[in-house]
Structures are given as C-alpha cells and as structure tokens.
Symmetry: C2
Subunit: 238 residues, 2 copies
C-alpha cells in the first residue's frame, strides 16, 4: 500500500535465509545421489557434471553468509533470532562440506572408471541411499522445526557407521585376496568414508535443529559407531 521503499520484515529476511539453506541442502542431496549413481553406472560424464555442480553450492554458501552478516549488521537480532541466524551460518558451512564430499566421490569414480571393474562396489549405493534419506529428512526437520524428526536422523547415523565398518573390513579382505584391486578398493574405502562423514554432518545439523527447537541437546551421548580407525585385520583372517 505505501509507496517508496518496501522495508522487509526481519521474519521475511529470516525466511529467505532458511529457503536458501533448504535449496542448498537439496542440491547437496542431489549431488550425493548423482555421485553414487555415477559409480554404479560407471558414468564418467555424470561424475564430471557432479564435480561441476559443486560451484552452485559454494555460491549459495556465500549468499547465505552475506545475508546473515547483513542481518546481523542491520537488524542486531538478539535471543532466539540471533541463534537462528548463527545456526544458519553453521548449517550452510556443514552443507558446503557435504557437497565437497560428493564432488570427491565423483573424482574417485572417474579414477575407478579408468581401470577394469574388479572391486566390489555394492555396499556403496546402499550406504549412499541411507545417507541421502538422512539429508532429505534433515531438511524437512529444518523446514518444519521438527525436533522429533531431527532426533530420528541423529539416531540413524549409527546404522551408517555399522555399514561403513563392515564395508571397511570387506574391502581390506578383498585387497588381501586380490592385490590387483588395491588401488580401486582404496578409492572405495575413501568413498565410503566420505559418505560416513556426510552422515556425521547430518547428525551435527540435527543437533543444531534440536537445540534450536527445544533449547536442549539430545540426552544420550552421541552414538559413535565408526570403529574403523582402530580396526586391524590379520592377513590370516582374509
């Protein structure tokens, strides 16, 4: 109704930041899905496209940073509003890393595709799908301020860690049995590790959401299921 400048409300600005975060998360989810599919399909073209797609995520992170800093400078939010802006900055930084991991998986797909397909890839798509759903649910929990769903994602990370543990052992054993597969299996271990790390980042984002909605952190200590750092396999086991 009024003419002249339309001054956006704080809530509108906040909604813009939140929309950008959901958009960023959606791209990160797609990037992970594409990276894993490029492995299953041995699709180098898709892998290259996924690496290229990382730029859009980086650009969105910069945009969210700029929006948040502008809000802090011009609105001087306090209490809950301040926490939401700071959470936005943190979540954007975590999502940027998620997309980095997807790009790294894609690079390794290109390396794998340059050699015969000898290594067992089958667990990667399963792990990838589990974690892709964690991303989707985290974004829904964020949009709807749904602490119960965020808690569900947080608890689900243990399943990913267990898959990663068994895959780590399986790949080490495979390398021992067929040393020609060593380079390929090493790349697969790193891919699995990347996916496991994406799962970790989702639990971090879930914690931020839970804290934002309830003012509390999850009561139990964070389930730490990745035991691969202390795994040793005796060659005689293989």
């Amino acid at each position: 109704m009024s003419s002249g400048h339309i001054v956006k409300s704080f809530d509108e600005e906040l909604a813009r930041v939140q929309n950008a975060i959901v958009e960023m998360g959606g791209i990160a989810e797609t990037q992970l899905e594409a990276a894993v599919r490029s492995l299953a399909e041995r699709n180098t073209e898709l892998a290259l496209k996924t690496i290229e797609g990382d730029k859009a995520v980086d650009a969105l992170e910069h945009r969210i940073d700029d929006m948040a800093i502008k809000m802090l400078a011009l609105r001087s939010p306090v209490a809950d509003d301040l926490r939401i802006v700071i959470s936005g900055l943190k979540i954007a930084s975590l999502l940027e890393r998620v997309a980095d991991y997807a790009a790294n998986i894609s690079k390794r797909v290109i390396a794998l595709n340059s050699a015969p397909a000898i290594a067992p890839i089958s667990s990667i798509p399963r792990m990838g799908e589990l974690v892709r759903r964690m991303i989707a649910d985290t974004l829904t929990a964020y949009s709807n301020a749904d602490a119960a769903l965020a808690y569900d994602v947080w608890a689900r990370d243990q399943e990913v860690d267990q898959l990663y543990n068994s895959m780590f052992r399986e790949l080490l054993t495979f390398m021992m049995e067929d040393p020609r597969s060593i380079t390929s299996c090493t790349h697969l271990i790193f891919m699995a590790k990347n996916i496991e790390r994406i799962g970790d980042h989702m639990t971090n984002i879930a914690e931020i959401i839970i804290y934002q909605v309830t003012g509390d952190m999850p009561k139990e200590p964070r389930p730490k299921g990745d035991k691969t750092s202390v795994t040793m396999i005796d060659p005689k086991e293989g």
Copy 2:
C-alpha cells in the same frame, strides 16, 4: 576509579575471543605434534593422552561460540568489528576439526601398534612437521594481523599436497608388494590424508586472515595440489 560494575570495552572482549582462539590453535598444534610423535615412537600411552586432549579443544570452541554470541547480542557490532567476530566463530570451528584429525591419527596409531611394524611410516613425520609449522605461523599471522605471513602459509599448502601425493603412491605400491601390510598401510594413508586436510584448513584460516586484514582474497586461484582422488596405480608399476 569508578565504583560499581566495570563494563569491559568491546576491544577488551574482542581481545578475549582472539586470545581464546590462539590458545585453541596452540593446543591443536600440540595435539598434531603429539599424534605424529606417538606414531614415530609407537607410543600408545601418548596416543591415548592425545585422544583425551581433544576435549579441551571442544570446550574452548564452545567458550568462543558463547563469547561471540554474547558480543553479537549485547554489542551489536557492525562493519569490521562484526566481521572479526564472525571470523572468530569460523576459525574456532576449523581449529576444532584440526584437533579432531589429530585425535583420529592417534586412534590409528593405537591400531598400528597392535600389529608388527611393517609399513613405511617415514614420510608422515615430515608431513606432520610441515603442517605443524603451518599451524604455528597461521596463529602468528592471526595474532599480528600479518597478511603477508598468512599468504605465505596459504601458498605452502601445495608442498603438503605434493608430499601427500607421493606418499599415497608409495603406500599403494608397498601394499601391492606386501599384502600383509594392507591394513597398516590403509591406516597410514588415512593419517596422511588427515594431515593433508589440516593443511587445507590452515589455508582456509589464512584466507580469512588475509580477507580480514586487506579486505581482499588472494589473487590467484587456490593451488589445489591433492591429486590422489584421481590416482590409479597399475599393479605392473609396483
């Protein structure tokens, strides 16, 4: 002079945040040094101590977060002051991850020490020392707002990447020649990767310092020297 409340100046509060960051960075540097030394000495006790030491870094990150959020809420800083507070939050989050990597190296040392020492570890201490110096110099650059030194750290990361590349190839070849070393060498590759990532984080912090001091980012594109994601080694090479 005046009685009653002593209201700290904004500059004093900022100095407290900056001191906490330098303290946090100093611990992270010590943690990396200890993790690498525990590998060279096959010292499980030191490795356990290093894992335990990670808690102090996490606690400092929370303290810095709280201080920064309190400053944002009560001081409503703008312009340069606001950027310094936000940079502090980001640097603290990067240093927390650096210490995580050191703790992860220590976990792998414990695993390695449970098996005979067959894998070649010699490049890790060299890489560790390079990166430890990057941490020290980054903290000096931060304390002194020294953009030239930050730029020097930023450029040095390429050397770390080159060391990592050659180590990656060396370890793959070693595994092919002696499949009994596969598990140990895999842990060494992850350790080397952890150190390489710490170097990456130092270049990120260096960029934040350069931006804070000069208002600009480094002119050249960031040197990306880690080529291991696309490395394949033909078993016949080994």
